[in-house]
Amino acid sequence: MRPFLTILFTLASLSLAHAHAFLDHADPKVGSTVVHSPSVVKIWFTMEVQSTLTKIQVFDAAGHEVDKNDATVDPANKVLMAVSVPKLPSGMYKVIWHAVCPWGHHTTGDFTFNVAGP
């Protein structure tokens, strides 16, 4: 049994590269209501992502893409990606992200936020 536990502890302690990127947190926050339109939508992933294959898109309630199609990964912090948006009128917005980790594994997800003010 001791070798069993040793293996388990070793595996749990290893700092190996891992394979899937998920959303850690975002700005605006997932499901939040903001008073004023944000100028950018930011997502922090749980691991570094490939800048050329990872993207973020923002859609309005009618399903029209409203972002400026300029999503980029921060070169100084490769877990962070941001996309610019114009001044958004009040309403519900959906963010769809598609991340590719350095190992090539894809993950996608979505969330909404609300702009309350004009």
Partner: protein
């Protein structure tokens, strides 16, 4: 044995409290991550390593401790084979201790139908428990083989309206199988199990960032049940357990702890418990695992919604 359980619990606690952000592998359907749970086999045919699952019932007459290991490998896209075995330790009151291996268990599974936007998956498969492969010293020794064709289902609650958005992190998984024995004298039985899960990661990532800190934001409270209903004419009533518990998703492993409550006196004399550690081998060794041996697969382990 008690020291082993205590050591395992200590390691689990250390891992939970010191590990950074979680990282989920496999089991994705739409935005939903269906974690492997201790009693209800998840519907995904993907690479998995469960090592070990420790089940302990301190109040049972036999003081049984089961230590199970299982390994699943995706062979073709959406089709996987697995092997499992359990080391059983019995310490009956007033009797000699008995140790040994359970019969070898093989299984095959295929993901038949998936609807990512509805977080729905249906799979089919079968277990084969090989008779004569376990320890003859154990009372549960079987010389005959058991075949259990099974149906696996997973469904998330993502379609709930905004007024019920805090219920969207809920999901269910079920497995329904029928035991067929190579020995005609054995009693056939319906095996049915399931889980109801509330995913805090799903709440944080897809519904509302409630600011829940780690390690709690990586936890999934759940209730599982596991039942056996013999189907022969003179069959005994259904036996089984209801298992409330919690599951924590780590970076390279997942740890589950559940209390096991028997539904009647035939199911056990008292409350027990289990701990399972699931190793995410495709995250630990992404170049080796997380892909089928033959063909390419870009759905199970990787992308989900495809929206």
């Amino acid at each position: 044995m008690k020291k082993i359980i205590q050591a395992a619990a200590l390691i689990c606690a250390t891992v939970v409290l010191t590990a950074p952000a979680s990282l989920r592998a496999h089991g994705l359907e739409g935005d939903r991550f269906f974690p492997p749970t201790p009693l209800t086999d998840d519907p995904f045919a993907v690479d998995e390593l469960s090592l070990p699952e420790v089940e302990y019932n301190p109040a049972s007459a036999s003081h049984e401790v089961d230590i199970t290991g299982s390994f699943t490998k995706e062979i073709f896209p959406k089709f996987a084979l697995s092997i499992q075995d359990t080391y059983i330790n019995l310490n009956p009151k007033g009797g000699p201790a008995q140790d040994g291996w359970s019969p070898l268990d093989f299984s095959a599974k295929y993901q038949l139908w998936e609807v990512p936007e509805h977080e729905f998956i249906l799979s089919i498969g079968s277990d084969f428990t090989l008779g004569g492969t376990g320890s003859k010293a154990l009372p549960s020794y079987q010389y005959y083989t058991t075949y259990t064709p099974s149906l696996y289902l997973g469904k998330g609650f993502n379609e709930l309206p905004d007024s019920l958005k805090f219920f969207r992190p809920l999901a269910i998984t079920t497995v329904t199988g029928y035991d067929l024995f190579s020995n005609a004298a054995a009693s056939n039985a319906l095996e049915w199990s399931g889980s109801l899960q509330y995913s805090i990661p799903y709440l944080q990532e897809h519904v509302e960032d409630a600011g829940i800190p780690r390690p709690f934001r990586d936890m999934i409270p759940l209730v599982e049940f596991q039942m056996t209903t013999p189907t022969n004419k003179d069959a005994v009533p259904t036996t089984g357990t209801i298992n409330p518990g919690i599951l924590w998703e780590g970076k390279y492993c997942q740890i589950s702890a559940e209390v096991s409550i028997p539904i009647n006196s035939r199911s056990g004399p008292a409350v027990g418990g289990l701990i399972q550690v699931q190793i995410f081998i495709d995250d630990l060794f992404p170049k080796v695992f997380g892909h089928p041996i033959f063909g390419s697969d870009d759905n199970n382990n990787d992308s989900n919604s495809g929206k």
